[in-house]
């Protein structure tokens, strides 16, 4: 019966028999029954319910063999019902030391299956100790299955299982040193490679190890593995030892520990790539690609570049290709692209499209100069025209249009290609377009008169398909236009063509022909109508988008994403930019760091590691304002509070007429708003703190966004009045109910929020205006308590409103005669404050000026004798005080 099933026929008889066999008393029959049931039925099958009771009896029964059978079956196909009814029994079995190991190992895996089905089964708190106990086992069978169980439990929640960590390390050590392993488990001289692999996998789930002793042991073990593995004659031993080795490499990468170990790893990988065995080469390349993502071992990897290129000659080049793509950067781009191009001519057809796409992207990203880029693309089209998607040639045309000096070069090159006998259609399209636009630039060169160019293009006309003909027609029209004074013969030729196509079936062609003909009659006015194409706006390359999309399937992308998800700590560690290590000696002009302003205002992320990080940001439950790379400007605006005393770490050299440190000032977040995490199940998208900062400088933008709602703000400010409009947009298809927005105004602002509707209909946007009046100067901030209900989720967020001090500033020019007397008349605190900023990078003057401008301070040039100083002035308005002049000097 099994055989029949395997052959693919539907077995619809005999199920009843199989289930009843399970209850048979004799072992063989029982065994057969179980196996058949396991193979034929899956967990949703109705028949299984019949079996639950019998199975339960078997499990609690004393006969070990029966127990095993039952456990095995449950382990393989157990469903939810099984989980609920059988879990306690299975747990008991697992833990009782009177059971033989045989049974216990099955019980462990059975529990795993049940856990996956119904996570509540395993009570997390109590279980951690028991896991630790289990891991003390000597018998390797039980250990193997316990390790698998551990992996699953830890992947969900690694903090609870800290105590298991040293045990894992000890196990690994035991295995690696080959102590105390029964002969049975030794596989060609290597003790249980699978268990080693599993243990290392489990270790990867934990972030870095604190305990120094454990750490040292682990490193020793890893070191031994790394050094001790050689290429041996026996294939199987080879494979097994390398399996352990690769896993160890992965662990080392994760631990991100010592530089020395990393370079050892890379050296090893380099050796592997040269090995003849294809498997090892493949894995070596794959691991190198992974390494690229995790660390910056780029230079070391580049040394192996030559080797990698030769491995392109392999029958299987997928990995080599990915690796080259990853490690390409400005220095070696030229070589790599040229290699790729060469390879393209001999490549397998399936690979060509991907190959050409990657080559195009690399060429674009790292082109040393643009004419080279154009060359490369044209070569690409020439060699592999079929596989060039339209995006590629659109892109090259875009480039040529945007760069004037490139145009004649491109036109000449394109003409050369056209002169070849066999030209691919895409090439014709590109050439037609470029020649149409720019052939007049070539007009002076020999052999390039409009007539000849027309001749060349016209030759190709019969060979092309209907998609290309419109482009050709446009090209003719433009050529004609550019020949002033008009050449009669050329003109009549072209008109004849237009006439011919006026009755073409294809609507597009017909339309073009008719229109162009009519236009040509107009004569001189033609110039204006058929003017040159304007430049394209800069857009993110659709090629890169395409590559990212198409890579979604490959192992590389998912490995990255998986690593990013599995090892959150690692991702954060890696992409952390070091906080500004500033000038060693405080420069007398205390420079304000501008590093973060541009990156906050433009939040585009291009690389995949950044994507991973922003995924992390989206899934972090804390709006993490302490993220060191994020907030240099935040430092300026005041540390967001979970701890900071206001302004302590923030110092800026400012002057103010009021009590404050005027200008862009510390929003004293801690005063009113707890910026810590909200008890929300709905996670905000993007970093709220960053958005707030961005909005402090701009007047409109998104204040808050989460999967259900988007809140935007638009503001206008005049003297001490401000008017904000809140745009509440419901992103979902269901209405949001119980919408409430409460203002918590601080003492210095008077705020009036008009009525917020109770329900926001789906996919609609509601506008709520808000009036703000500044009563007196203060660093406090207004908070909007916003809550809504979606389904059964109640969501509540407290959002700071960007109605901050600098919004009430109005720039005003102050002439020199007024400035300095005022300056000198203010003698000291609290009216005049001066501080030195330390630890930030020096910033060029124009950027500084921009920053001050965006804070609504007007720069008064030339007032200060020292050219490194910037002077700005503004007026601060509030209701209680009259207009106050603020002067800032850096």
């Amino acid at each position: 019966m099994l055989y029949i099933y395997m052959l693919g026929y539907d077995v619809d008889f005999g199920h009843m028999e199989a289930v009843s066999l399970i209850s048979a008393p004799k072992y063989p029959e029982k065994q057969v029954g179980y196996i058949v049931t396991s193979s034929l039925l899956n967990e949703n099958h109705d028949f299984l319910r019949l079996a639950i009771n019998t199975v339960r009896n078997d499990i609690i029964g004393r006969n070990e063999t029966f127990q095993c059978l039952a456990l095995t079956m449950v382990g393989n196909i157990g469903g939810r019902e099984f989980a609920e009814s059988l879990a306690p029994d299975v747990q008991k079995l697992l833990l009782s030391s009177s059971c033989r190991p045989l049974v216990r190992k099955k019980a462990a895996l059975c529990l795993l299956r049940l856990y996956r089905k119904n996570p509540d089964v395993v009570n997390v708190d109590g279980w951690a100790d028991r896991m630790a106990q289990l891991l003390d086992e000597r018998d390797l069978g039980v250990l193997t299955s316990s390790m698998s169980l551990l992996v699953a439990l830890v992947s969900n929640n690694h903090e609870a299982y800290w105590s298991c960590l040293p045990k894992c390390v000890k196990t690994l050590e035991r295995l690696a040193r080959n102590q105390d392993i029964p002969q049975e488990y030794t596989y060609y001289g290597i003790p249980s490679p699978w268990l080693q692999v599993k243990t290392m996998r489990a270790l990867q789930y934990f972030p870095t190890i604190e305990d120094p002793y454990t750490r040292r042991t682990l490193f020793e073990v890893l070191q031994r593995i790394l050094m001790g593995t050689d290429v041996v004659k026996n294939v199987n031993k080879n494979n097994a030892s390398h399996a352990v080795l690769f896993e160890a490499l992965a662990l080392v990468m994760h631990l991100d520990a010592e530089k020395e170990m990393m370079s050892q790893c890379v050296a090893l990988l380099g050796k592997f790539i040269a090995v003849r065995e294809p498997n090892i080469r493949y894995l070596g390349l794959e691991n190198m690609t992974r390494m690229l993502m995790v660390t910056d071992a780029q230079e070391i990897i580049k040394r192996h570049q030559a080797q990698i290129i030769t491995s392109l000659k392999d029958p299987d080049i997928r990995r080599a290709l990915d690796l080259l793509y990853g490690m390409c950067d400005v220095t070696n781009a030229k070589d790599i692209v040229e290699e790729l191009l060469q390879y393209l001519s001999s490549a397998d057809f399936t690979m060509r499209e991907e190959l050409s796409l990657k080559a195009a992207i690399l060429a674009e990203k790292f082109a040393p100069d643009l004419s080279w880029y154009v060359d490369v693309i044209l070569q690409l089209i020439d060699k592999a025209g079929d596989f060039i998607s339209d995006d590629i040639w659109f892109r090259v045309v875009q480039f040529v249009t945007n760069n004037d000096d490139l145009q004649p070069y491109a036109a000449a090159k394109v003409k050369e290609y056209l002169e070849k006998p066999a030209v691919h259609e895409t090439m014709v399209k590109v050439s037609a377009y470029i020649l149409g636009e720019y052939s007049h630039l070539l007009a002076r060169r020999p052999g390039c008169s409009p007539k000849e160019i027309f001749g060349i293009l016209h030759e190709k006309l019969p060979t092309v398909s209907t998609t290309t003909i419109p482009i050709l027609l446009s090209a003719y029209a433009k050529i004609l236009m550019h020949t002033q004074p008009p050449d009669q013969e050329l003109q009549s030729q072209i008109w004849a063509i237009f006439n011919k196509y006026e009755s073409c079936i294809d609507a597009e062609i017909q339309q073009r022909a008719v229109e162009y003909f009519a236009l040509c009659q107009k004569g001189a006015a033609l110039m204006d109508i058929l003017a040159e194409m304007p430049k394209f706006p800069e857009r993110k390359s659709s090629l890169i988008k395409r590559a990212e999309y198409s890579e979604a399937d490959t192992a590389e992308q998912s490995a990255i994403k998986l690593r990013a998800q599995q090892q959150p700590s690692n991702a954060l560690v890696v992409t952390d930019q070091p906080p500004a290590n500033g000038a060693t000696s405080p420069v007398p002009v205390g420079p304000l760091s501008l590093a973060m302003v541009p990156s906050m205002i433009t939040t585009e992320d291009h690389t995949s590691t950044d994507q991973a990080l922003s995924q992390q940001n989206g899934s972090l439950t804390k709006v993490d304002p302490q993220h060191p790379s994020a907030d240099l400007l935040g430092d300026l605006l005041g540390p967001l509070a979970i701890e900071g005393p206001p302004g302590a770490t923030v110092q800026s050299e400012h002057n103010a007429v009021s009590r404050l440190e005027g200008g862009p000032d510390a929003v004293d977040g801690s005063a009113i708003v707890p910026v810590e995490e909200q008890r929300n199940t709905v996670q905000p998208i993007g970093n709220i703190a960053e958005r707030f900062h961005a909005l402090c400088l701009k007047d409109s933008g998104v204040l808050y966004e989460d999967p259900y709602i988007q809140i935007g703000i638009k503001a206008e400010w005049r003297a001490h009045h401000g008017r904000l409009v809140l745009f509440l947009g419901n992103k979902n298809t269901a209405p949001l109910v119980s919408v409430q927005a409460l203002m918590l105004p601080p003492a210095h602002l008077k705020m009036e929020l008009s009525l917020v509707p109770d329900t926001i209909p789906p996919r609609a946007q509601v506008q709520c205006p808000l009036e703000v009046v500044n009563l007196r100067p203060s660093r406090d901030v207004a908070v909007l308590d916003f809550s809504y209900k979606f389904g059964t989720n109640m969501v509540n967020v407290k959002l700071r409103l960007p109605a901050v001090l600098n919004k009430f500033l109005q720039p005003i020019p102050v002439p020199a005669e007024e400035f300095f007397p005022q300056w000198r008349s203010l003698s000291g605190p609290p009216l005049k404050l001066q501080e030195v900023v330390r630890g930030v990078r020096p910033v060029p003057l124009p950027e500084m000026a921009n920053l001050l401008n965006s804070f609504r301070l007007m720069i008064c040039p030339g007032l200060d004798p020292n050219p490194n100083n910037l002077v700005a002035s503004t007026t601060f308005y509030s209701e209680s005080t009259h207009a106050m002049l603020c002067l800032v000097r850096n």
Binding site: Q31, R113, L140, T144, E184, K198, N239, A243, E247
Partner: protein
């Protein structure tokens, strides 16, 4: 090369003369370990049946017929063995003695 990728799975295969063994695994599984697991399976079957494949070499030259025949005629035993070794997608037992004991028990009764 013994690994193939497809969507987000990998296939690890090994060829023994006319027998192909294929294993489908997740993307983050260690491929060489699976390769060795295939070999372990073959060795276990060899020990049980007497002459499934020759130990050392990967290309079996003697008695190619008998190799597959053993598996064909005793398919359920092949299943039993595999059942002992793998459970719910994880490798549970790698010691040949432990694996073969229940199977031999079955044949006795």
């Amino acid at each position: 090369c013994s690994f193939v990728e497809h969507r987000n799975y990998k296939i690890v295969y090994r060829r023994y003369a006319s027998l192909f063994f294929l294993v489908g695994v997740d993307n983050d599984e260690n491929e060489l370990a699976i390769l060795e697991f295939i070999h372990l399976l073959v060795e276990t079957m060899d020990r049980h049946f007497g002459n499934v494949v020759r130990f050392f070499t990967m290309d079996c030259f003697s008695n190619p017929f008998k190799c597959e025949l053993d598996i064909m005629f005793h398919l359920e035993k092949a299943h039993f063995m595999l059942e002992e070794m793998v459970m719910n997608g994880c490798i549970v037992e790698t010691s040949k003695a432990n694996i073969l004991t229940p199977v031999q028990l079955l044949e006795k009764t």
